[in-house]
Symmetry: D2
Subunit: 266 residues, 4 copies
Amino acid sequence: MLKGYTLPRTPRGTSSLAPTPPWHYVGNALAVEFEASPVEAAAFMPEGLELSSGRSAAYFIEWQYTSENGEEYLDPVRSQYRETIILLSAEYKGLPVAYCPFIWVDQDISLMRGLVQGWPKQIGSTWITRSYDLPSKAAPILGPGGKFGATLSVKERRLIDAQVTLSELAASLPSPSFASAVNVRYFPELATEKHDLPAVHELVQLKSRDVKISPVWKGEATMSIFDHPYLELPDLRPVSVTAGYRFSFALTVDDLVHLCDLRTGM
Amino acid sequence: MLKGYTLPRTPRGTSSLAPTPPWHYVGNALAVEFEASPVEAAAFMPEGLELSSGRSAAYFIEWQYTSENGEEYLDPVRSQYRETIILLSAEYKGLPVAYCPFIWVDQDISLMRGLVQGWPKQIGSTWITRSYDLPSKAAPILGPGGKFGATLSVKERRLIDAQVTLSELAASLPSPSFASAVNVRYFPELATEKHDLPAVHELVQLKSRDVKISPVWKGEATMSIFDHPYLELPDLRPVSVTAGYRFSFALTVDDLVHLCDLRTGM
Amino acid sequence: MLKGYTLPRTPRGTSSLAPTPPWHYVGNALAVEFEASPVEAAAFMPEGLELSSGRSAAYFIEWQYTSENGEEYLDPVRSQYRETIILLSAEYKGLPVAYCPFIWVDQDISLMRGLVQGWPKQIGSTWITRSYDLPSKAAPILGPGGKFGATLSVKERRLIDAQVTLSELAASLPSPSFASAVNVRYFPELATEKHDLPAVHELVQLKSRDVKISPVWKGEATMSIFDHPYLELPDLRPVSVTAGYRFSFALTVDDLVHLCDLRTGM
Amino acid sequence: MLKGYTLPRTPRGTSSLAPTPPWHYVGNALAVEFEASPVEAAAFMPEGLELSSGRSAAYFIEWQYTSENGEEYLDPVRSQYRETIILLSAEYKGLPVAYCPFIWVDQDISLMRGLVQGWPKQIGSTWITRSYDLPSKAAPILGPGGKFGATLSVKERRLIDAQVTLSELAASLPSPSFASAVNVRYFPELATEKHDLPAVHELVQLKSRDVKISPVWKGEATMSIFDHPYLELPDLRPVSVTAGYRFSFALTVDDLVHLCDLRTGM
C-alpha cells in the first residue's frame, strides 16, 4: 500500500515531493501595484472569469515553509524559496476576485504544491532586497526613505526589474490581493486523441487560514517588464505604476473551494 | 479562449511550461544493472503491478529535447537536461514491464512533461562523464577501457555514485528498460475532505515511436546509494551490481496507453 | 588606460568583478562554537601562526553587500550571498588571533573580494533558517526556544549540518571572532619552474571599520561534519560543541595590515 | 608545512581549489568570427599590446578537465564546465597575438585556474547545442545543414545569443585563436594607500602542449550582444559577422611565459 500526497508514492510516504497539508508559510513581500492594458489583460481571463479593471499587482516574496510536523525550516533548502506572482483584477459571478496569469518559484516542492492549487507555476529566479535590524549602507531601512529592489529572471533572461521607495504606513494591502484568488487546476491527457481534453480542468477558489499580516509600508515604485521571445508577460506591461508596498505575512493552506468543472461547465 | 497544453494557459499559448506533443528526445545514457532486495523492491509496487524479480537498473542520461516546431535546441537552456531514473522489474497481468519508483531531472519543462506521463519526477542534479571525439587524458574513450562516472544529488545531498568501465559491445540494452515502462499518473485534490481521494490516479503504459539506439557498450560497474533522512531510495540499494552500459538513444513521445483507473479499479 | 580594481580591467572600469573598496556589508549570522582536536587543528596553521587551543567556531551568514556608490543591493543578485566560515584560535607573536582554514561563498564577486583579503574562498552552498517579524509555525522566534538550522554543501555533497536552540542573550560574541582574523594572501606562479614559488604569499591582518553588532542570542547547539573524499574539513570535526549564537552585524572593509612576506620571512 | 597550489592550503594539500599543474582539457567549441568596431576594441588593449584589426571571435565551449592524477572526470561536477571567451586581434612587439577582454565560466575551479593564467574570468552561464551520434529531430547533425546555438547569461541577464549553420569543412581555425593569447595577470593590494598599486600586474603569454584538433566545420553565423547596465561587452558588439565554426580540441597547460612586469615596465 503506497503512501504519499503527491508522486513519488512510496512504502513509508516520506519521499513525496509535497507532503499532505496543512502547509504553513511565512514571507517577506515587496509588491508593485500597476495598471495593465485592460484589453491585453482581458485576453488572459479563463472561462468563468471576467476582467474587472486593469488594476494589477506584482508580488516578490521570500518564503519559508513547513509542513505540519516536518520542521523543514531546520533543513532550509527544503523550506525556503522565492516567488514572483502577477495578479489581475477579475470578477466571478459579479464578485471581485484575483486571477494569476503567471507565477515563478525556485524550488520543486513549491512548484508541486502550486500545481495542486491551480497556480500556473514555472521555475524562475526572484531576488529581493533585504532590510536588516542594523543601520548599514548595504541595506535599506524598513521605513521612510528605504529603497528596495526586486528582479525576476526565467531561463536566463531578465523579465522584471522593480524598485520601491517606502514613505509611509498604509491602511491596506495592495490590490488585487491573494485573499480572493481564483485559479484554474489543469492536468492534461497524453493519449493522442485527448491532447485537448484534460483530465482536470476546474475553476477553484483558494482558501487560507491563520492569516497574519505585519504593518504595511507603502511608497513610490517603478517596474519594467522586458521583451521576451515566447513568454507573454510583456502583454501585461505597466501602463502606469500606482504604488509599491513592503510587508510580511503568514498563512496556512489545507483546503480549496471547487467553483466549476470547466470540462462540463458544472 | 486560452491556449496551451499545460499551465500557464494564455492568449497565444506560447507560455505553457510544456507544449503540445509530439516531444522529440535524444540522449547519451550511462546505465547500471543491479539486484535490489526483492522484499524491499516489492514494497514499492503500485496497485496493479507485481514485482517479478530484484533485477533493477539506474539510468543517468544527458538529454536534448525539442517540440514539433519549436527548435528549442537552438536556445539550449530550454532543451537540455540531465536525468537519473531507477527502474524495477515488474509484471502487469503476467506481462513483463518496468516500474519507476524514483526519477530526478534538472529542468521544470522536463518535470512537467514527466508528471503528465506519470513519471514521479523531482528536481535533482545528475552529472555524467562525457567522451569526446579526440584522445585526451581528460576523457574516457568510448570503447574498451573507457571509464565513466555518474552522480546524483538531491537538495544538496549526494545520493548516488556510479562508475562503469567499458569492455565490449553488448547484444542488448540493460534490463529493465524504458520500452515497457508502466507509470502511475497521480494528481491530488486539496479540498480538506479529499486529501486521500486524488483527482487522477491511473495506471498507464508509456508509448514511444521512432526509437533509435546506438551500439551498446557494456562492462563492469560499481554503484553506491548513500543514506538519506527522508528519501527512500536507500531501500533499493544494490545487493549486487551486474553490469554497466553506455549508449545513445532517440525517441518521440505523443501518446500513452490507459491501463486502469486506480480510483475505481477499472 | 584600463581601469578596474580587479580583472577584467576595461575602458570605463565598470566591468571588474570587484570594485574599488570601501565594501559595505550587513549580515545575519548563525554561529556554532566548538572544540576541534588541537593536534588536527595545529596542522592547519600557516607559517607565522601557532594554534592557541582547540576552541573553534563555524559561522553561517546571509550577507548583503554594496560598494561605495553602487547601490548593488537594489539589483540583489549582485549584492546578496551566503557564506560558511571556519575559524581556529591562533597566536601571532603571542597575540590572540583567528585563522580561517576554510570558507565557502555562493557568488563570484564575494569570492574575488575574499581572495584579495586572503580568505581561502571556494564556491559552496549555505542555507540558514530565517526568523520573520510574525509568529508562524514556519519560522523560529528570535528569542528563547527559537530553533535555527544551517547547512553547507560543496560540489553536491552535504558537508555540515548545524542546529542552534536559543535560550538567552549573551554578553559577548562567539570566540574566535572575525575581529582579529589573520589570513594568508596567496597567488601562485604558473611558469613551470615556479609552481612552488608563489608571486604573493604573505601573512595579513584584516581591518574593518564602522562595525555594528546587534544583541547576541545564545543557546545550545549541535553540529555534524560529514566525511569527504578530498576536502580536509572533517579533520576539524567537533570533539565537543560549546554553544550556538545568532546575531546580526555590519562592517566596512577598505584596508588590510601587512604582517609578513612569507616568501622572504620579512 | 601547508600544501596546495592555491588557497586553501592544508596539511595534505587535497583541498586546494586548483591542484598543481599539469591541467588536461578537452572541449567541444562553437565559435563566431566577427568584426568589432576597431575604435571600441582598441580601448580594451592593455599596456604593451596594440589592436591590429577589428577581427574578433567568440568561443562557446563545453569542457571536461582533469589534473595529472586526479581522474576528476569520474566525479564530473569537479571536471565539467562551460565557458564563453571573447578574443580580440592584437600585436605584441609587432607579432600577432590574441587578447581576451571578457571570459565567463560556471565553476570555481576553472575560475581559479583562469586567474592564475591571467584570464579575466567571472562566473557566467553558457549553453551550447549538442550533436549526438544518432539522427533526431532534437539535435543537429555535425555536418552540412547542422544548426547550433549558444547563449551566455551573467547575473541573470542574457548577454549573447549566437547561431551557426554548418556548411563545409574548413582548412583553419577561427581567428584570433587561443594559440597566441596574451593575458594580464593582476592581483590587487587592499592596504588603503595601495588600491591602485597591484601586487601582481604582468603581461604573460599562454603556453599549451599536446594540442589536438578535430576536423573544423564552418558555416554562416549570427550573433547578438544585448545591452547591459555595467558590463562593457556591448562595446564589442559585431559590426558584421564573418563565419561560424564547430570543432573539438584538447590541450595540456603547465607553463606560462612572462613578457613584461607592467608595474615596472620590465
